[in-house]
């Protein structure tokens, strides 16, 4: 273990080395965790634009079937399938994962635990490069003959396994390769996050001094690593089925298509919590800082999220209640599914209890944080009907399911991400974002969001099936009587997308002209706020910080200031 003993000298004396770096080595091939975090964030944002555009196109088709869609043209059924599939894939694998885990993890973990970089900077860079490659492969797959993969993001065989079923002979394997590459990228990144947090914490930082978001990202990375293995094996099998003609999932030749569903959902359900936990962590940080109050029940939140992680491995078959799983097993999976709402509820209540008696500041970040709590609650509560195998038989594959998981995923991937960006933007770029425009953006996002998905709940409860290209052709599955609500949802979506322009403009203008933030604009405690904004290479200058207390010591009685940075030395008489 001789390699452990390095002298802990900061990077202050190395500054001269880094001045004459070229654009390429500084921003493209950098091993600096902050730059890699930005790379993930901007790639994720670009992919979000593509995913949002896809959503716009197919929602237009649903509202006005057969009409020529502005910025697209007439939508064919095959292209519709391809758009729905890739909208789902992009939003989960190329938006939620990179922005919430990779970007936030990369940017925040070393800063928050008080070290200068990830423990494996080069692996970190490799992870982003593989991720970028996966995004490029996915984008290429839209332009090959037959178009992008059209077998839904869950890729159930036989639809996904045979080109004669999904009509995308090249799109399907490319999609699968892109997803596998993306998984590899996050395995590398996840190992980095976990190892960094386990091993590289600042002096004095004990288990319970770690900010909750770091915990959440680490637990999420562990969940990802532990759940994705069977899917990797399954992806190899499915790729062989698609390209070479094996019959792993072909029932006619002795294979088992339901096996894929198990392999997929054994990953797919923990994946929900993989993206949920970082979002919860962001909201915890934001809520606590702007309530100016100690986080309520830190340890309980922590234990609940660990319990949530463990339970999440026992619920996956609730996605398969009507696809032929043993009805006796559904008892078990119904029970565990309903149980898993308990830890989530505990965390939610802890956040609400944090607000109680605090002096709340309604900054944009706080608004988004509070909106997450409220909107996610709706998403969680509607899950009860889908988790119970009896009601699921009626609701399965209707718009109710769709509205339910969008009520969970949009708060996670959109609302919590905005909270994070508004909150850490000053640290990332040294300037604050404009609060007025931020609030306009907030209301322009939240109200249309509910406008999209509340009608879809009603549609689903009315028995309207999802994945129907044109309701006029399938009177049994989708009726004309509810068409007004589809139009309403589509209009809401367009309004929501237009308001994202406010965010983009605000983001770009604030980069140049925003109010200078200084080191600690929000008066927060965690370690990232003690360094410059933006942090220099090496993060903390010449001396690395030392930690003396937990991250949430706000409004401590008998102190002049209402915050107490983690690294501030205690007064001698307090000891």
């Amino acid at each position: 273990m001789a390699e452990v003993a390095h002298a802990e000298v900061g990077h202050g004396d190395h500054h001269d080395d880094h001045h004459e770096q070229s654009f390429w080595s500084k921003y493209i091939f950098s091993t600096d965790h902050k730059i890699i975090g930005f790379q993930y964030m901007f790639t994720g944002m670009a992919m979000a634009l593509i995913g949002g555009y896809f959503a716009y196109v197919f929602r237009m088709q649903l509202a006005f079937p057969g009409a020529s869609i502005p910025f697209w043209g007439t939508l064919s059924p095959a292209a519709y399938n391809s758009l729905v599939t890739n909208h789902g894939t992009i939003m989960i694998f190329w938006v939620a994962m990179p922005v919430l885990i990779a970007a936030m993890g990369n940017f925040l973990i070393p800063l928050m635990i008080g070290c200068d970089d990830m423990v494996f900077p080069k692996v970190n860079r490799l992870s982003f490069q593989i991720f970028l490659l996966s995004a490029i492969v996915l984008i290429i797959s839209f332009f090959v003959p037959g178009g992008g993969f059209g077998g839904a993001w869950t890729a159930y065989p036989p639809l996904s396994a045979k080109a004669e079923f999904n009509a995308t002979p090249f799109g399907a394997p490319l999609w699968l390769i892109a997803v596998t590459l993306e998984i590899v990228a996050f395995l590398l990144g996840g190992i980095n996050f976990i190892t960094t947090t386990m091993n590289a914490r600042a002096k004095g930082m004990k288990m319970y001094d770690i900010p909750i978001i770091v915990w959440m990202i680490v637990i999420a990375s562990i969940l990802f690593m532990c759940s994705v293995g069977p899917l990797v094996a399954g992806a190899v099998m499915l790729l062989f089925d698609q390209t070479m003609g094996t019959a792993f999932f072909d029932a006619n030749a002795g294979g088992d298509p339901v096996l894929w569903q198990h392999l997929f959902w054994f990953f797919g359900h923990p994946e929900v919590y993989v993206v949920l936990l970082p979002a919860m962590g962001i909201v915890g940080e934001v809520t606590c800082t702007f309530a100016r109050k100690k986080l309520f029940a830190y340890k309980l939140i922590l234990y609940s999220s660990v319990g949530l992680g463990i339970l999440s491995f026992f619920v996956w078959a609730h996605h398969q209640f009507i696809s032929g799983v043993d009805p006796r097993a559904t008892y078990l999976f119904t029970t565990t599914t309903l149980l898993i709402s308990i830890p989530v509820a505990i965390i939610m209540f802890a956040y609400i209890a944090t607000l109680y008696g605090g002096s709340i500041r309604f900054t944009t970040a706080m608004l988004f944080g509070l909106a997450f709590t409220g909107e996610f609650l709706l998403g969680g509560v509607t899950g009860i009907w889908l988790g119970s195998s009896g009601t699921d038989i009626y609701l399965h594959d209707t718009y109710f399911v769709l509205a339910h998981f969008h009520y969970t995923f949009v708060p996670i991937a959109i609302i919590a991400t905005f909270a994070a960006i508004y909150y850490w933007f000053p640290k990332m770029f040294g300037r604050k974002m404009n609060e007025t425009w931020g609030k306009i953006h907030f209301w322009g996002t939240i109200i249309p969001f509910n406008g999209i998905f509340i009608p879809l709940f009603i549609l689903g409860a009315g028995g309207q099936h999802r994945r129907i290209y044109n309701y006029q052709n399938f009177p049994d599955l989708a009726g004309a009587d509810m068409q007004d609500m589809r139009v309403f949802a589509t209009v809401s979506l367009i309004i929501m997308l237009i308001f994202q322009l406010v965010f983009i403009v605000n983001f770009i203008v604030s980069l140049k002209r925003g109010e200078k933030a200084g080191k600690n604009p929000w008066k927060a405690n965690t370690l990232e706020w003690i360094t410059e904004s933006p942090p220099p290479h090496g993060n903390f200058g010449a001396t690395m910080p030392e930690v003396y207390r937990g991250p949430y010591e706000y409004s401590v009685e008998g102190r002049e200031k209402d915050y107490w940075p983690q690294n501030e030395k205690p007064e001698p008489e307090n000891r």
């Binding site: 386990m198 532990c226 759940s227 293995g229 069977p230 029932a251 002795g254 088992d256 339901v258 096996l259 198990h262 054994f266 491995f313 026992f314 996956w316 078959a317 032929g324 799983v325 043993d326 009805p327 006796r328 097993a329 999976f333």
Partner: protein, 146 residues
Amino acid sequence: MAGHNHPSYLKIYIILVVLFAVSVIGPEVAPMFGAYAKAVVLLTAFGIAIWKAYLVCAYFMHLKFEKVYAPYILLACLSLLFVFFFGTATDAMFSNGHNWFKDLDEEAMVKEAEARSYVLNKDSHGDHGDHGHGAHDDHGDEDKAH
């Protein structure tokens, strides 16, 4: 890791080789146990595989002397596999379920497999029609090597 009192690597290796030999010989001597033949094969094959894996993990990978985190990481991953297996087994492992069945003709699959089997067809006078578990013919291995 120096300074730990672990047994010599060579000793562990010799145990591993002996175990390995037992696992290879297992199926050959199993018919002698009659009704228990299948159990003997399973025990010598998989019981010994687990034992071997334990020895490699504990001594070659030094897990016995490692900090507690490492074995916990591996055991957690391993236990999740069992979760996956048993959750999936209720339908992927069976041909008939509570209200469904897989339309598969196992008899026909056996016939097909026998028709293309190299071991069964290379000498047609053998009495290799038996396709049960464990009762494996005892003259195949050396012949197959060339």
